[in-house]
Structures are given as C-alpha cells and as structure tokens.
C-alpha cells in the first residue's frame, strides 16, 4: 500500500549492495540521455532475481517499474504488446478472461516482462513450450547511443538473441510483444504423486511428459539413505471443459517482519519436511483447481523471503545433462543432505529439448534441481562451491538469475561462449553479477564477500 524510499534490492537479500542512484522511468519517450550518464547503467524491474544480476553497485539503476502500460492486444491471435515494466500478474488479469494464458509461467507472477526476457525464464512446461523467450515475437531495445531498435527473429536478429537471457546488459527493453496460449478454462486438472526415491522421480517424469503439459516435483532435500530423493511429483493440464474465465481472488498474506535466524534450522526443517511428506497418505491425489496456487504457491505469501531472516538466502538452481543425470543428481542431493543445510523449498524438474533463441540462456535438456539455503556465511558458501564442482564436472549449468556467489571459473565452464555474447553488451551497461563473473582471479573482485566474513 505504501512505498517508502527503499533502495532496490534482490529477492535473496544478498549481497546487500547499493547503487549510486536510481532513475525512475515514467514514459518510454522520456528516458535520460544514456550516453551522458557518467556511471554504468542497469535496468531494474521488481527485484525478483535472487542474487546480484539485477543490482549495480555504485552504478545507476533504471527503475522500470512505472512502465506498466499495454500497447495492443489482438484477442483473435493472442498477441499482446506491453511496456517492459508490466508484471505477469497484470498480464494474466487482462488475458485470462479473454481465454488466453501465458505460454510460459515462471514460479512467480510478480516479475516484469522485461525481466522475464532478460533472464529467459522457464516454467513447469519447459519440456513442451521451451522458455519465455521462445514466445517473444519482437521488442524495442534502446541502446545508449540513442538508437531504438526493433528486434525480432527476422530483424536485428543478433541483438534479439543476445537480449533474451542477456541479463539486461544489451540495452533497455522498452516494450515487448508476446504470443499467448489459448485456454478453455482457468482451471488446472492436477495430480500429486508421492515418490520414494530419485529413481522413481525420473521414471514418473519420463512417463508424464507425453500426457502432461506441466510437471514439477518437490523433494525432501534433507532425507538421506534409502529415503534420498523422496518427494511429491505434481503434474497437470489446463482443464478442457468450458468454465467461467474468472476466479475469485483469495486474500494474500504478508510476512511482516524478518524471522529470527534460529527458527529455520536443520531440526525444524527436517521435521517439517518429514511431516509434509507424510501428510499425503495416498500414493496419488487428483483435483481440479484454480491456476494461481498451482503455478505460484509462494505468491500467496508476500515477502516470503523474510522467512530466512535479515542475512538473506541463496538459491542454487542447476541443470545436469541426462546421460549421467541420475548419478550426478544423487551426488548433489547426498552432499546437501550430509551438510544438513538446505530448506523446505527444493524443486526437481526435467527439462526438454525445445531450444531457446537466447544466446546466454540457462535452460537446456537435463535434470534440474533448485534448492534454497539460508545464508549461514562461510559454511553455506563452501557447500555451494562444493556443488559447483560436481555440476562443473558433469557439464551442467547454474542459473545466473538465482546466483549471488558463483566464481568466474565456474561461470566460464557453465557459459563457455560468454565472450561471444559480450560483444552485444551495450558499452554503458553493466551489473554487479557481470563484473563478478567476468573478473578473473588476480584482478580485483568487485563484489566483496564481506557480509559473510563479518558474521564469522
């Protein structure tokens, strides 16, 4: 309801770094002359990236959250054009009553469309629909030399591909056009199946991809031994029968304060995970319900990141290729379980081979694991380094949008072609993430790990 003068941060609340200043952008035709700004620039939406890819320490952030207007909506063809700051929540509110849906839905709807493109986000239907970038038909990109370029698969193709998944570094996306997917009802037919092991997860996933558009799994990352990799597999499809395209809004809740850090510890999380796992007695439960809780269970609790306390948290999201995917994933889960860190929010998912136009996109075929870790300083950073070693060896990849700590060496392994991408970066643009992962050892690192050291 009220907005205090807060410095824009990121969702993981780590690192805590501040830009030199924030420039709000109110109109597409009233941007400042970017070439004249004396510091590096980065567009910033709603700060839903977890680490520092949406931050620009001592630089300038362009606050894009006021550019929230629609340009056009072709209700026949399902083509929607809107400004970069429009959130997916706004889009859904507009399109669902007309029988349309987003072709790709990330895990939260509180992201801007500009951010969804810049991180080439994915959803539970990656095995069918690919990434968000696969459904972008065109966008307008403002470069610091003042050029406004229409980018599409046919026009300015290189910049189109570089900007999708380009972490906001190739210029300012002013507006974009997306291709929507038709639906007959806003309801989802879903099924939740309990699985006892990682092997069982892989089998269910393989058996589900053919018949289910949306698949995802929750995994108990603290379970070990025989129970390693147990969890719930959720799969769903849009309900086919006609239904009114409006759903009564449920009231959302907000976590008003930071939790003290002791609330979430190994014991409480282990107890919670075990209780959660056993809460569903049946092997499989089916139901039909509104799309919101299916896609965005966490959006129902505003500012859930406060659960991890003031020190913030890390998310580790990686994909490992299918060939030795089982062994690698088992190895990762074992290390996490042994460490006793890790939390309730752990997700497993299979990725398909629909390729994205994005040059630096994260999604690729393989097994994906996403884990949250409360920031416990050095202990957590060491565990994540450890996980990086496993993922690097398996030719896997870690998601920049979630990252606040990967080394430049790991980045080089994950994105060996980043230099090719770098030629499309706008010379005036930079981010804390980019400086961190492209600064080799020996050179001065720009993002200090000081917050952690202090806490040791």
């Amino acid at each position: 309801m009220f907005s205090a003068n807060k410095m824009p941060g990121s969702w993981g609340r780590y690192p805590q770094i501040a830009p030199n200043r924030v420039l709000p952008i109110f109109w597409r035709d009233e941007l400042p002359n970017l070439a004249e700004l004396e510091l590096s620039i980065l567009p910033h939406g709603y700060g839903r990236s977890y680490g520092d890819s949406c931050l620009n320490e001592d630089g300038i952030l362009l606050d894009m959250s006021h550019l929230t207007r629609f340009l056009s909506f072709d209700v026949e063809k399902g083509l929607l054009r809107c400004e970069a700051g429009v959130s997916l929540a706004d889009i859904l509110e507009l399109i669902v009553p007309h029988g349309w849906f987003l072709s790709v839905m990330p895990g939260t709807k509180f992201v801007s469309i500009g951010g969804a493109i810049a991180n080439d986000v994915h959803g539970k239907n990656h095995h069918r629909a690919g990434t968000f970038g696969c459904h972008i038909t065109c966008f307008e990109l403002l470069r610091s030399d003042g050029r406004r370029l229409l980018c599409s698969p046919e026009e300015n193709t290189d910049l189109f591909q570089a900007t999708i998944g380009g972490l906001g570094l190739t210029g300012v996306i002013l507006w974009a056009e997306i291709h929507l997917r038709p639906i007959r009802s806003p309801l989802i037919d879903m099924e939740r199946i309990r699985f006892a092991s990682l092997r069982e997860f892989i089998d269910i996933a393989a058996a589900s991809e053919q018949d289910f558009e949306y698949t995802v799994a929750w995994v108990d990352c603290l379970a070990s031994g025989k129970q390693l990799g147990r969890g719930f597999f959720t799969r769903g499809n849009h309900a086919e029968r006609e239904a009114p395209n409006t759903i009564k809004k449920k009231r959302s809740r907000t976590i008003p304060v930071d939790f003290p850090s002791w609330i979430l510890n190994t014991q409480t999380i282990r107890a919670f995970n075990t209780a959660y796992f056993h809460a569903q007695r049946e092997k499989s439960v089916r139901k039909t319900g509104p799309y919101d809780p299916f896609f965005y269970p966490l959006d129902a609790i505003h500012q859930w990141n406060r659960m991890y306390g003031k020190r913030g948290f890390f998310q580790y999201q990686c994909i490992v290729p299918y060939n030795d995917g089982y062994e690698v994933m088992k190895e990762l889960l074992e290390r996490v379980s042994r460490s006793g860190q890790g939390s309730f929010l752990s997700v497993l998912k299979t990725f398909g081979d629909v390729s994205s136009p994005g040059m630096l996109s994260f999604p690729r075929p393989g097994l994906e694991l996403a884990l949250d870790f409360a920031n416990q300083g050095k202990k957590t950073l060491e565990l994540l380094e450890d996980l990086d070693r496993v993922v690097c060896q398996s030719s896997g990849v870690v998601y920049p949008a979630k990252d606040a700590r990967m080394s430049s060496e790991s980045f080089e392994v994950y994105f060996p072609h980043w230099r090719e991408f770098a030629q499309y970066i706008d010379p005036k643009f930079s981010s804390s993430f980019w400086r961190r992962v492209t600064t080799t050892v020996g050179e001065a690192k720009q993002v200090p790990v000081k917050d952690c050291k202090k806490e040791q």
Partner: protein, 246 residues
Amino acid sequence: MSMRVVIIGASSAIAYETAKCFARDGADLFLVARSAEKLTTVADDLKVRGAKRVKTYLLDLCDLDRHQEMFEQAIASLGELDMLLIAHGTLGDQGKSEQSVAETMQELQTNCLSIISLLTISANYFEQQRHGCIAVVSSVAGDRGRKSNYVYGTAKAAVSVFLQGLRNRLSSAGVSVVTIKPGYVATPMTAHMKKGLLTASPQLVGRGIYQAMKKGKGVVYLPWFWRPIMFVIKSIPEGVFKRLSL
C-alpha cells in the same frame, strides 16, 4: 449503456489509475492532455484494458480560451456526459514563486484558474442535464497554508472552496460534486521528493477516486487517514502554527 467519462489531465498518474478502473467497466472515455505522445500511450492502454471507445483531445489547459471548444467536442464525441474528472496540475517550486510574481501567477493559472474555468463551463451543462458527477483532484495542501508550499496550497484551497459552493448549487439538480484531497502520492510529479511512510501509491488513490465518483461522495481524503491528520493540523492555533516548520 456504458458510462461516458471525460478525464482532464489524463496523463497524470492519478488520473490514469482512475481511468483504468473506468476502462475495466467498459466506459467511453474522452481524454485531454497536452502531450500527444503521452495521450496516445494512455489511450492505447485504456483501449486494451477494456474501454469501449477512447477519444483524445490535445490541449494545454492554461489556454482558457479553448476550454469551451474542448468541452463541446467532448459532448459531440460521447453524445452525453456522465462524469467529469479534472486531474491536471503542477507542483511548482515554492522558492521560485516567492521570488517571482510571474511564477506565482503561472501556478495559480494552472492549478486554480484553469480548473475554475472548466468548472464554470461544465457546471451549467450538468445542471441542465440534471444528473452526473464532477470530481476534481484538489489536495490536503489546500486545508492550511504552510510555508513549504502555500502557493500550491492557495490554488488548491480556492478550488476546494469553489467546489464547496458548486456542490451546494448543484445538489438540487442531482449532480454530485466530489472534492478529492490526496496526501502524498508517489507520482512523477513528486519523484524528486523523499517518500515517507504516508506516501500512497497512485493505484490506491486512483481506485479511491473511482469509488468516490461512483458513490457521488462530497469531500474525500485519500487515503482516509489524511482526514484526522488534517483535522489536527487545522485545529492548531495560528499563534502556535506560525512557529512550526511545516
């Protein structure tokens, strides 16, 4: 029959948020603003959001001679008018006004005289029609003169008093006159100012205006807590008030 609404100063953040609510209802809109680009941007958006028809009119509202023509155009475009929202304005530089008569007069022209001109023209129309609603975005700043913005406050105070009289006059004709008094709102107009705990979003204020217009309320503070705050501020004796730094 869809609602026919004229919105003056349609590119202002508060007016735009109110217009969004009307658009969702499928209203017919007549939008007036001085920048062609902004007017087009807002009009396109409101069409997507569900407005049945959107007509635009380019006008610098300080050009009082063209108010009559604009108003006639609005009636010609929409057929009949149900509601009028006047929301244009500037937040001038108090310091500059203190040093310049021209600057002060300009402030009064934009935030007061242009509104009174529009009200004079539209009041007769609505009175004759015997239904409808006129709403104007005034401000809590008009409730008491303060050294930090009394020129702006003067303009808003005059508008509020004018509306008070108009409400009195038009009530027998069944026309509601709504005085909107927002507190601090986070808009481009206040982007340079520090935002405190009391700063409201334009979405919240816009929705509040929409509801007040539909209900035909009299004086509305947005958000509501400004009513008790301003009650306290108004009741401070002048002898004390003059020594405060507000």
